[in-house]
């Protein structure tokens, strides 16, 4: 692992010591390999209208045209036309699309990883409906195969491979749960051989937000459900999904699903984590290879259902709040009503952010950006957008439903000495359960 800079002065990290040509080929072949009709249609459809720029927080806050979402795909667009597109032989024969060089890939590393949170706001702005965020993920796969990934993300990748989680060794998981239970005085279930509900976690809960581990336990206990945490398959955040390490993504997916099925669970509850929702709710079946006989739901959906069905009753807080919609949950996941219903049940008067729901701005830290220290300056720029919109609501509570968003926004608040606490919807529910 080495940090380097391109001739044009752009920083990039590189892993391994393969020759450049080999890396380049690996990147392009990996990109080409997973090309399905939808991705091809989207690769063919760009009009270069520039609308995606107006949707991207990194462009809007810097006004640097290189952050235009579609520009982040340039090397892969070239590769597509040269290797996959219907006119590929013509392109190659006439030399219409230059073969992508390693220098271009090196230069694009920062655009694909530092300046994209996979938030998909550009997808909604695109008049052709090009799912740019999905294409960026395909491109990241190519970058991963070339060994051109930010070192911090690669470190998490290797950790996850070794430990089963980027946050903690699987061996320590049960202890962390038990310690949290003791500290917060909540009875916890871990590694029960059989259970109806399997609770999964993301690194945020295992490090900074350990209270979340017992918050959900408290709720499930209250509801009298048969549930467990499980050391064999607890990690839901799936770093492979973010890094473009599809092999790892598949491995993590299978591990989590197989374990839940082995326990005989009918429902797998995902933590307050956006990417976990994308990876498990929408992509797991792709890697599992068939439909999964298991209900996979997000924490927020679970809370929403439980409140709606009256299985949990909440004490009204009676204050005002605004809500930050995690991108993977709202925009790319379709969950916008559940958190609002829960806030309502909490007696919080909701004032929406100027841009909210499917159109909310990203916290700026998704897609691994928050873990990638090289991206800090960009991330803080993006934070300012969110800060302005939150301030404009003039509310008492600032709530979200994703641990990564929470960490990103908390870091931003700290940086700008902004006196706002970012609260978790789960925590608010757990703290206000009616006895």
């Amino acid at each position: 692992m080495t940090a380097k800079t391109t001739a044009s002065g752009i920083a990039y990290d590189v892993q391994g010591d393969r020759p450049d040509v080999e890396r380049r080929d690996a990147a392009l072949q990996a990109f080409v390999r997973d090309f399905a009709a939808t991705a091809a249609i989207h690769m063919e459809s760009c009009l270069r209208c520039g609308m995606c720029a107006t949707a991207c927080q990194y462009y809007v806050t810097t006004a640097d045209p290189k952050y235009t979402p579609i520009n982040k795909l340039k090397p892969f667009e070239q590769a597509y036309h040269r290797h996959v597109g219907p006119f590929a032989p013509v392109y190659r024969f006439l030399g219409l699309s230059a073969n992508v060089g390693i220098d271009m890939l090196q230069e694009w590393e920062a655009l694909l990883f530092d300046a994209c949170s996979l938030c998909g706001r550009c997808t909604l702005a695109c008049p052709m409906g090009i799912d740019i965020a999905e294409l960026i993920k395909e491109a990241r796969h190519g970058m991963y195969m070339a060994g051109l990934v930010p070192d911090r993300l690669e470190l998490m990748d290797r950790t996850a491979k070794a430990w089963g989680s980027p946050a903690t060794p699987a061996d320590d998981f049960a202890d962390i749960i038990r310690e949290a239970g003791e500290a917060n005085h909540v009875p916890v279930n871990v590694d029960l051989p059989k259970a109806d509900y399997v609770i999964t976690t993301a690194p945020a809960e295992l490090t900074e937000h350990t209270k979340a581990l017992t918050d959900i336990a408290k709720i499930l206990n209250k509801m009298g459900l048969n549930w467990t945490y499980s050391s064999e398959g607890f990690e839901a955040s799936n770093i492979g999904y973010i890094n473009g390490d599809l092999e790892l993504q598949e491995k993590m997916t299978r591990k989590m699903i197989d374990n839940a099925l082995a326990i005989g669970a009918h429902t797998l509850i995902l933590p307050e984590c956006g990417h976990a929702y994308g990876a498990a709710r929408w992509e797991a079946a792709r890697w599992y290879g068939k439909e999964i006989p298991l209900r996979i739901i997000h924490m927020t959906e679970f809370l929403g259902e439980s409140v709606a069905s009256g299985k949990i009753k909440l004490k009204p807080i009676g204050e005002t709040a605004t809500f930050h919609d995690p991108c993977q949950l709202a925009r790319r996941g379709g969950v916008t009503e559940a958190p609002r219903a829960v806030l309502k049940a909490l007696g919080l008067e909701l004032t929406e952010l100027q841009d909210h729901g499917a159109l909310g701005w990203c916290c700026g830290g998704g897609g691994g950006v928050v873990s990638n220290v090289r991206a800090d300056p960009l991330r803080f720029k993006a934070f300012e957008l969110k800060k302005q919109q939150v301030e404009a609501t003039n509310t008492q509570h600032f709530v979200t439903a994703c641990g990564q968003c929470r960490i990103t926004l908390t870091l931003g608040a700290k940086k700008f000495k902004w006196d706002r606490k970012v609260e978790s919807l789960l925590e608010l529910v757990a703290d206000n359960l009616e006895d």
Partner: protein
């Protein structure tokens, strides 16, 4: 009537008033859009003009042009112009025939060497040595060449002479060509039309007689005065075109309302002629006024432009086979490209697999 009699004298002899003559001169001047004051000059020139020797050759034609020009409904000054010229040879009209007729032509050529005008109606077949049309054993090709040799100018009357017309229409079995291709640099005026408007013919002759030169011509050798504007631009149905009101059939409500005939294949927009202004039969009507679209008869190749009832903006020719072939080829290439991309994928997959180890 002698060759040296002036038009003046002829008019007087026929009892036409001076006033009527001046009226005609100003009419022609107006028709030909001559500058103001030219009417007087034209009248003066015409009055003093001597009888012009004209040799009229009819080749591959239907005699329609001659019919059109000679059959005026009433005796007019236009007839007079025809009367005035010395039509020394016109095998349709002349009284004599056979060798006597051919002798008249040769005599006229010798008597007016360098001064006579050759009027031609009909195209000239050139295939197989021109055997497809002969007069008195002489091929049209040869007769034209001979007659043109000492001519002052040549006037191609009718579309066959001007552009080859119907004889030249696809597949042109006789190798018919327009006079312009055989005129060998002689001054040439084309007065196309099937048939041409009589006034265009007499107007041009009056101009030549009066001013002793050719009128201004367009790139097809047509007098701009008569062929300077399209039928469409001067058509009285034009407002319907602009408003999007069209007849869709010859017997529909639009046709009864006198709407534009564009959809029925009218070639007015690309046809340069004076029909819409001068009209026919003494200004009574013209095809569009009678309910039929313009055929474009004063334009080259009017017979081969995809059919008289094919609207102007439609493609020419049958493109079905070409498009069907293209569709099959396109589908095959598309499938081929996808198969290639898939195998490229699989190949790449194998390589990446190796790459991982």
């Amino acid at each position: 009537m002698k060759h040296d009699e002036t038009l003046d004298a002829l008019i007087e002899r026929r009892g036409v008033s001076r006033r009527a003559f001046l009226k005609y001169a100003s009419y022609v001047a107006t028709l030909m859009a001559l500058p103001p004051g030219s009417a007087a000059a034209l009248a003066e020139g015409l009055a003093k003009a001597k009888r012009q020797s004209v040799i009229w050759l009819s080749f591959q034609e239907c005699t329609g042009c001659t019919e059109s020009i000679t059959r005026s409904s009433s005796p007019t000054l236009e007839n007079l112009i025809f009367n005035f010229i010395s039509l020394d040879y016109h095998h349709t009209l002349m009284a004599v025939s056979g060798e006597a007729a051919e002798r008249a032509r040769v005599e006229a050529m010798q008597a007016n060497k360098g001064k006579y005008i050759v009027v031609v109606d009909g195209a000239v077949p050139t295939k197989d040595g021109g055997v497809y049309s002969t007069i008195a054993g002489v091929s049209n090709l040869q007769m034209l060449e001979e007659t043109l040799r000492d001519a002052y100018a040549v006037v191609a009357v009718g579309t066959c002479a001007a552009f080859g017309g119907i004889p030249k229409a696809d597949p042109n079995p006789t190798g018919a060509v327009a006079i312009s291709e055989l005129s060998g640099g002689k001054p040439l005026i084309n007065i196309p039309g099937c048939p041409p408007i009589p006034e265009a013919m007499t107007g041009v002759l009056s101009y030549v007689l009066s001013f002793g030169k050719l009128p201004e011509l367009d790139h097809f050798g047509r007098p701009k005065a008569f062929y300077g504007e399209t039928i469409h631009d001067r058509c009285y149905r034009r407002p319907f075109y602009e408003r999007g009101l069209f007849a869709d059939g010859f017997d529909d409500e639009g046709a009864r309302q006198g709407y534009c005939l564009y959809k029925l294949g009218c070639k007015g927009p690309t046809t340069y002629n004076a029909c819409a202004t001068l009209k026919w039969n003494g200004g009574v009507s013209f095809p569009i006024q009678s309910g039929h679209g313009c055929l474009g008869c004063s334009e080259p190749d009017f017979w081969d432009r995809g059919g008289f009832y094919r609207p102007l903006p439609t493609p020419l020719g049958a493109m079905g086979p070409a498009l069907a072939g293209a569709a099959i080829a396109g589908a095959a290439l598309g499938i081929g490209a996808a198969v290639a991309a898939r195998s490229h994928r699989n190949g790449a997959s194998a390589t990446t697999g190796k790459d991982k180890e």
